[in-house]
Assembly symmetry: C2
Homo-oligomer: 146 residues x 2
């Protein structure tokens, strides 16, 4: 596993609109069985860090507990050519008072309390420490994907 970089990469202003939107970025994690995994998440960006919420019984939590490496790719909901990739490490913190998951609910659902958890659900907030950021320039090519 590579050493954690001291550098904290900064999101370029040109791509902040993506993180502010109701996008559903994909995260990449490594499973304990050695396979890669890719899953959608809802995020809140506070102008500095990207965060998402998960549950302790989810695979992505177990993956990140065992190996904090993570990548996130966020595409603007209205423009598939406008996206950014963040590569870094995840920091996990219990969300005991559900303050963070309720931020997700406010951003994505316009409600004050996240309504879908079963009783006793153990919420965790995942903060991504960005070490590398890619913002491919798509102005002169056909698309980001081919």
């Amino acid at each position: 596993m590579p050493k954690s970089s001291e550098r904290h990469a900064v999101i370029p202003e040109s791509h902040c609109d993506i993180l502010e939107s109701r996008c559903y970025p994909m995260i990449s994690t490594l499973r304990p069985d050695g396979m890669l995994s890719s899953n959608p998440v809802s995020i809140v960006w506070d102008g500095d860090k990207i965060r998402f919420s998960t549950l302790k019984d989810r695979m992505k939590y177990r993956n990140l507990l065992a190996d904090p490496r993570i990548a996130l790719c966020a595409v603007h909901p209205d423009n598939p050519l406008h996206y950014l990739e963040v590569r870094g490490r995840a920091v996990l913190e219990d969300d005991i008072d559900r303050r963070f998951v309720n931020q997700i609910a406010r951003k994505y659902m316009d409600v004050d309390e996240y309504p879908f958890d079963p009783p006793g659900a153990a919420r965790v907030t995942v903060t991504i420490t960005a070490e590398q950021i890619s913002t491919p320039y798509m102005g002169k090519v056909g698309g980001p994907r081919d």
Copy 2:
């Protein structure tokens, strides 16, 4: 790295519509520097295998050449709750006659020839051998992401 499984996982019929759509799935790969990467691709699915195209000078090609592990997550363009994840390995083949990248062009652009490559571009077709497939059931929860 885990051993390649002999099993060839089959896409459930309930999720074939996603792969037939003009979706832009995200792939996860491992970089030679040890970081994870996540990037959008255009795919063609022939009813058996998922394929995408890349260029030999792209990072995702170099990543997969060094480590064939890959995950792909495809979301239906009209329904963010309807998605599937495929985990497996990538097989790389030169697309010398550009037959495959032109299939991408027909599916996504309604043109017969992929129009955006620079002269001399070296096209590679990536075929995903699916070893594990997840199709989360979202019917009774709020979303796939939280």
